[in-house]
């Protein structure tokens, strides 16, 4: 076999990495290169480019290698796949990261890997890359390391020392599906790693009893990814699982990735069109969980047989099932209730609350603030507007749902 060029390896190992949805480079500690070194981070991350799949490029997202001894049915890099294999050296990953960074293509590195030889061996190689960037090159940009399932706790600890964020993918929302489609992974050890990352992160924030700061640990926290549509889990199951992950392990994000056909597919999974709308609705529901005070059980009341309505957003679906709580008096309602009005986002609600301290808000004021009044109209009342019977009208859902599509002629 002839030696591969860096370019050939990059093609293979970025192609292999694209099924990971995460690209966040936000949060974490504030750093810059004013006292030396290269790079800065902290605050909200920057998306440096967008590909036609609508996903942003913020980090250099690559695999260290796509050789893998696991056989996860949904993964292009599983051992039984015939895909071309490659492996980066430590220096190659370091050079690519630094050179891309210097040209302002990226915010940093998101390194994942297939599992070679053993989980510990793989994790320690990845940790070495992060350490080289930090120690040898004084790199102060963002580093996201994927933690390898079943790697030793000491390696996870060292990973947290160099990385801004750690993540480990739960992959599928139900333990049974993980065992079925990823027979070498164990859901309980994945959760144990998440628990460790949470505890280490909390310990790093606390000062020790001597007042000395504990060792740094992944200041931008941890995240995970669930594949949607590969198993039979419904949306309520997915959101309940996400809720447990958020409360149990203080995840910053749960990413939902519509299962998308891969070249060299396994017979175990269908080659269907990725359910992009379902993925979108799940993200909306996830926002309701994190920023709007909804619980998974509440969102479930707006679903149909456990699935989110694909035609309307989950907040509207919930509101249509709870019309008795509307219309709301915008000038009096609590923040919690305003957040439940379809068409009102967190920012609008905060603006409303700030503005109504001084005066009574009118319908036009909300339009000026940028609230989506077309959507919110049936659910609010304020000077200049009363919805009258609109909230109870039977065709309220039809006003928002897209018109039924006519079947196309052959």
């Amino acid at each position: 076999m002839s030696r591969m060029t860096l370019q050939q390896k990059l093609a293979i190992l970025s192609d292999a990495a694209k099924y990971d949805a995460s690209c966040a480079s936000s949060g974490g500690e504030k750093r810059d290169s004013k006292q030396g070194g290269l790079g800065s981070s902290g605050g909200s991350g920057i998306c440096h480019a967008y590909t036609p799949d609508g996903r942003c490029i913020s980090l250099l997202k690559i695999l260290m290698t796509n050789f893998c001894i696991f056989d996860c049915a949904y993964c292009i890099n599983r051992v039984s796949s015939n895909v071309e294999r490659a492996r980066f050296s430590v220096d190659e990953v370091v050079t690519l990261t630094l050179e891309f960074y210097r040209r302002n293509y990226i915010e940093g590195l998101f390194l994942s890997s297939g599992i070679i030889r053993s989980p510990d061996q793989t994790m320690s190689d990845m940790v070495r890359i992060a350490r080289t960037l930090r120690e040898t090159h004084n790199f102060r940009g963002y580093i996201h390391l994927k933690t390898i399932p079943d790697a030793a706790p000491e390696l996870i600890r060292e990973a947290g020392l160099w990385a801004d964020r750690l993540s480990i993918n739960v992959e599928l929302p139900l333990d049974g599906s993980v065992r079925k489609f990823a027979p070498e992974k164990r859901p309980e050890t994945i959760r144990t790693v998440m628990a460790q990352v949470r505890l280490e992160g909390e310990a790093a924030k606390d000062k020790t009893h001597t007042g000395r700061k504990a060792q740094r640990f992944a200041p931008a926290g941890q995240s995970t990814q669930m594949i949607v549509g590969a198993d039979g889990a419904d949306d309520v199951a997915i959101l309940s699982s996400a809720t447990r992950l958020y409360t149990g392990y203080r995840l910053r994000r749960v990413y939902y990735s519509a299962f998308s056909p891969i070249p060299d597919a396994s017979a175990a999974l269908p080659l269907v069109k990725p359910p992009l709308m379902r993925e979108h609705r799940l993200y909306q529901a996830d926002w309701l969980l994190r920023f709007y005070g909804f619980s998974a059980a509440e969102i479930a009341t707006g679903t149909q047989k456990g699935h989110l309505d694909l035609d309307i957003d989950p907040k509207l679906a919930w509101a249509l099932q709870h019309r008795g709580q509307f219309p709301l008096d915008v000038n009096r309602a609590s923040r919690e209730m305003l957040l439940r009005v379809p068409g009102f986002g967190v920012r609008i609600v905060d603006k409303i609350i700030a503005a109504r301290r001084d005066r009574t808000l009118r319908f036009e004021d909300l339009t000026h603030m940028g609230a989506l009044m077309k959507k919110a109209r049936p659910f609010v009342s304020l000077p200049g507007w009363t919805p009258r019977g609109l909230i109870d009208s039977t065709n309220l859902r039809a006003r928002f749902a897209p018109p039924p599509e006519q079947l196309s002629l052959l």
Partner: protein, 483 residues
């Protein structure tokens, strides 16, 4: 119009502030100032040299807004800001509110400037220049507004160890040996080819998933007006043209034959994974098997099995209900608030943690998520029944002379009797395993009691019971009992 002002290209904000402060001090009305100094049909002169008697006070929010709006490309921005200042001073409405037409316009301008700065940080693409001690890079960028000056601080912070230059039509920013300077703008410079751009193109093409095209999402975040200076956007048409064919090929290819030898690799890995023994023959084997327990559904939500802890040759055993939030995360029993209370009372009553075996009736945490908390839920009888297998194994390997049941769930697990606890507390019953079981309170119950007197009483009772337990394991020779 009476006054005419010309503001400089750079340090525009402080120049505008000086002029506006002077103008408002003479109460010069907005209509009397031409901020773009182009002159008019009427004779226009400069502002008076010295300040007038009036002092205007503005909220910090106005200065923040002005700090953004000032970089907007609109020639009206200075006049609009002065209009807002005038109205603030005269207390005519709230020009900082978005409900105000001027306020809304200013807000949108500030937003547009902010976005332009953000996009500059995202879309500047450096190419390396040859030679020099420090590595040196240059970029050409065309911002929508006058954003290079406010946007440069970011590049100073980020690229401290290299020289760089960003040229725009109006202004050039140069960073050399750690110092930032500005020069007038220029035409697009000819930058040398950079080999890393080819690698970047390779990355851009391969990170794209052809099975999910979302063009609108791309265009809204990477507007076309920026495309001409982004090397990667040249690749997009070909990527799109090929996308559908690639997906079709994937679908036609369908599932492929597994690579030869793959099954051997995974089989070897799985064989090395811990396997659960059907009938464990040691305490260690029982623990290994319990870590993989799926006898009930609790394992789906909990983090991990929390196995007992202590000495395998313990004379006595302490059984609680189930692990709590902390125990679940760390994988050790009795380390949460209730566990700490128990350990305190144990120390007071001569129960060394090393001379007992501490465990729970149920080995997984049962909870409901509520907000940011995981609220403890009592295990039901079915769960206790199924988990009794593990408790039975612990009892049979450790063979304690005395076991203490803390709380109703532990009492039920050990005796099969679910009667109320109050009447049974302090008595010794015979467990399902045939040994004696002392019934007592769970420390969490003591923590939950609101009435301090009841709390003290219950704590006292648990102490008394633990003292009884301590009599079953002789203290070490040099151990001094506390009074």
């Amino acid at each position: 119009m009476t006054y005419s002002i010309t503001l400089p290209e750079r340090n525009t904000l402080s120049a505008w502030r000086d002029a506006a402060r002077r103008a408002i001090s003479h109460r010069i009305a907005p209509g009397d100032i031409d901020w773009n100094g182009e002159g008019s049909l009427f004779a226009a002169g400069p502002l008076p040299d010295s300040s007038g008697p009036h002092e205007a006070r503005v909220p910090p929010a106005f200065l923040k807004l002005a700090g953004s709006v000032i970089w907007h490309a609109s020639p009206d921005r200075f006049a609009m800001l002065y209009e807002a200042l005038w109205r603030l001073d005269r207390q005519k409405g709230d020009p900082l509110s978005q409900a105000d037409p001027l306020g809304r316009k200013l807000y949108l301008m500030a937003k547009s400037v902010g976005r332009d700065i953000h996009k500059m940080h995202a879309f500047v693409r450096f190419r390396e220049l040859p030679g020099g001690q420090r590595r040196s890079f240059a970029a050409w960028f065309e911002p929508e507004h006058h954003t290079l000056e406010p946007g440069s601080a970011f590049f100073v912070k980020r690229f401290g160890d290299m020289d760089w230059l960003i040229a725009t039509p109006r202004l050039t920013a140069r960073f050399e040996d750690g110092r930032l300077s500005f020069a007038p703008g220029s035409a697009r410079p000819d930058l040398p080819e950079d080999a890393s751009e080819a690698l970047w193109a390779t990355y851009f093409t391969n990170i794209f998933n052809p099975a999910r095209i979302k063009l609108n999402a791309m265009r809204s975040e990477m507007p076309k007006k920026y495309w001409k200076n982004l090397p990667e956007t040249r690749l997009i048409p070909d990527m799109l043209a090929d996308a559908e064919a690639r997906v079709a090929r994937m679908r036609e290819a369908g599932a492929t034959k597994p690579r030869t030898g793959a099954a051997t690799v995974t089989a070897r890995y799985r064989a090395a994974m811990p396997q659960a023994d059907d009938i464990p023959t040691t305490l260690g084997e029982a623990r290994e098997a319990a870590l993989q327990c799926r006898r009930c559904n609790l394992c789906e939500a909990a983090t991990q099995t929390v196995w007992g802890e202590g000495t395998p040759h313990a004379q006595s055993m302490i059984v609680g209900e189930q692990p709590g939030d902390r125990e679940d995360l760390e994988g050790r029993p009795f380390i949460g608030p209730a566990g700490q209370l128990l350990r305190t009372i144990m120390a007071e009553t001569g129960n060394e943690p090393a001379s007992v075996w501490m465990t729970n009736a149920v080995k997984h945490f049962k909870f409901t998520p509520r907000g940011k908390q995981r609220l403890h839920k009592n295990p039901d009888k079915g769960e206790i029944d199924r988990c009794r297998w593990w408790l039975g194994l612990e009892l049979s390997f450790i063979r304690p002379r005395m076991t203490i049941a803390l709380g109703a769930s532990a009492a039920f697990a050990l005796t099969g009797d679910d009667r109320a606890l109050a009447a049974r507390r302090g008595t010794i019953e015979t467990g399902l395993h045939g040994g004696p079981v002392l019934i007592s309170w769970h420390p969490a119950y003591i923590l939950r009691l609101r009435n301090p007197q009841q709390q003290a009483e219950a704590r006292h009772e648990l102490s008394a019971d633990l003292r009884k337990l301590a009599m079953h394991h002789p203290p070490p020779a040099d151990h001094i009992m506390s009074a």
